[in-house]
């Protein structure tokens, strides 16, 4: 058993967009030079705003998009070389929108049984048994098996989505914003369920979310992405208590927290403007147009992701400066 379950080595995913006739062909660097490990039983929080490449990264890990450069290794072997069905037994995904990610014309039983059959579990009694087990694990009743998605509430649908991801007993589950489409009063139920199942089944998670409260609650380590790159990564406590990248500080400052009403430091650390287009990224540090502490060097020179403490790295020329 390898001691890293997932290992990304200088992973890059580029897309070509446009056409030679209309404005020329451009390269969109959705994911650029990401190296990252996930250990068994670990939860990695992945944070970033829309357009930063989180979902492309997830698809590359699932083996659904071929990397332009670099390597995705699961259990020590390259995803490109692994048979598709074997990868599916190792990594599964829980999607954001439980309304869009379930087939409306399939019963819950069929949605859960199909992956098993595809993996060659032919015995009907065994398939049925595992479907029923899984339903019980996610807090649904046996009679729910023969209903269709529209008969469920949002929270219950997300339970079905989780059951579908876990039915093959994967080692790694990528949760892409698993609670942001749910009603506020339902979110705690789903977060508690995900954490319980993680312990019970010995899962690793990659938790993609823009909700820093959720990420802090569930993660062991956190990686912050901006325009396709990781700008900071470290243990959850370091990231939240001693963030070194101005973007991480801006994300934390942007959270409306009624217990810590907006104060002067928050305004100093807020980011200006919006994320740039990945088609036309800024020179030097990609965050510099929005950065409250930018200097001349940031416009010309791309900062490397370097250590600030053991296990804590930041890609900022001023990573040693604390606020």
């Amino acid at each position: 058993m390898a001691d890293t379950l997932l290992s990304l080595d200088d992973l890059a995913v580029h897309f070509t967009v446009g056409s030679a006739l209309a404005g020329g062909i451009k390269t969109l660097k959705a994911v650029e030079g990401i190296s990252l490990d996930v250990k068994p039983g670990e939860c990695l929080g992945l944070v970033g705003e829309s357009g930063c490449g989180k979902s492309t990264l997830a698809l590359a890990i699932m083996g659904l998009i071929a990397p332009t450069r670099g390597r995705v290794a699961l259990d020590g072997s390259d995803v490109k070389q692994r048979p598709r069905l074997e990868t599916a037994r190792t990594v599964q995904m829980v999607f954001q929108d439980p309304y869009a990610s379930l087939n409306p014309r399939q019963t819950v039983r069929r949605t859960l049984a199909d992956p098993l059959r595809l993996q060659g579990v032919g015995n009907k009694a065994e398939v049925d048994g595992r479907v029923m087990d899984m339903l019980a694990k996610v807090g649904l009743r046996p009679e729910h098996a023969d209903r269709y998605p529209h008969e469920f509430s949002g929270g219950q649908r997300q339970r079905i989505g989780i059951a579908r991801a876990l039915i093959l007993k994967p080692k790694l589950v990528i949760c892409d914003e698993p609670v942001s489409a749910l009603d506020v009063s339902i979110r705690a139920q789903i977060i508690n369920l995900l954490l319980e199942l993680k312990d019970e089944m010995g899962l690793s998670y990659i938790m993609i979310s823009h909700d820093l409260g959720v990420v802090e609650h569930v993660s062991d380590r956190v990686a912050v992405m901006y325009l396709g790159r990781i700008v900071e990564q470290g243990g959850w406590q370091e990231i939240f208590e001693n963030p070194r990248h101005p973007y991480t500080r801006a994300l934390i400052a942007a959270i409306p927290d009624p217990f810590h009403r907006v104060d002067a430091t928050a305004n100093r650390t807020k980011a200006k403007g919006e994320i740039a287009s990945a088609l036309n990224p800024p020179s030097g540090c990609p965050f510099h147009p929005r950065c409250p502490i930018k200097a001349d060097r940031c416009v010309s020179e791309l900062p490397a992701l370097e250590a600030v403490a053991p296990g804590h790295r930041a890609a900022c020329h001023f990573r040693d400066r604390t606020v």
Partner: protein, 324 residues
Amino acid sequence: MTVPLLKVDELRIALAGDVIHNAVEEVSFEIGRGEAFGLVGESGCGKSITALAIMGLLRRPLSLAGGRIALDGQEIQDASPSEWRRLRGSRIAMIFQEPMTALNPLSPVGKQIAEMFVLHQGASWSEAMDRAEEALRQVRVPSPERRIRDYPHQLSGGMRQRVMIAIALACGPDLLIADEPTTALDVTVQSEIIDLMAELCAAKGTAILMISHDLGLVANMCRRVAVMYAGRIVESQPAGAIFATPRHPYTQGLVDSLPRLGERAKRGRQRLREISGVVPSIASYPAGCRFNPRCFAATDICRNTPPAQTPLPADGLVRCHHHG
């Protein structure tokens, strides 16, 4: 002095279907001049249609079934369509969750702002376009002289929402209704838009009715907050108090159920407190207190009798038989 800017009294909104349901009932609140008031609740609780009622925009199958809406002491709920058109935009304005669907995709944004001055203030188009440019500058859109010719699809989400704010505030309304204005935006952009809205409204003395599912966001920017559940206001308190001493079990659940930044460092990872069950649909509101099937404190009286309002200090109220 004592007349509030907006007074909503016993508002009832009916949803017609096979049977007529009350989507909103017994909703009363007041907003003072220049005050920021928050209305919080989950999807389907009736907060957005309450806003539509105040804008006179309820359309079939929804209709106003009872209650009074008074702006500056003057009842407006029975206003004629032409009176509504004069009110909307000039005295009450609204911004919506998704600016892409609220803006006209076929018209440059400058023209959409200028329209406000032409329609409500009788300005000429050339004067209105100059003022539109100034309005864009006020909402801090970079290079407004070029941006006024842009179409909505050429702007980012945050810029579009700035344009919406410019349109809404163009004629200096007394009340700005903001219905989930930042839900579609990224968090860093969200905080910029909220700051901008709060600053412009404070400068112009515009009152805000902020509608959101995010209790934290609302409590941060509003002075008073009302919480809605299944068509009724269940609690209303000053923003600080609603977090420090929530009195309704639903509000308590909302406050406790979300992981808060910094909690884990202080106390380690605690299991989140859940609110069991799901939000009831309008056709199956339970008898008695509508929260009773999900409430940890529910007793027989909760299942049979709808709780009356109990006044709290500082104009607050709670609607619970067992408010603590």
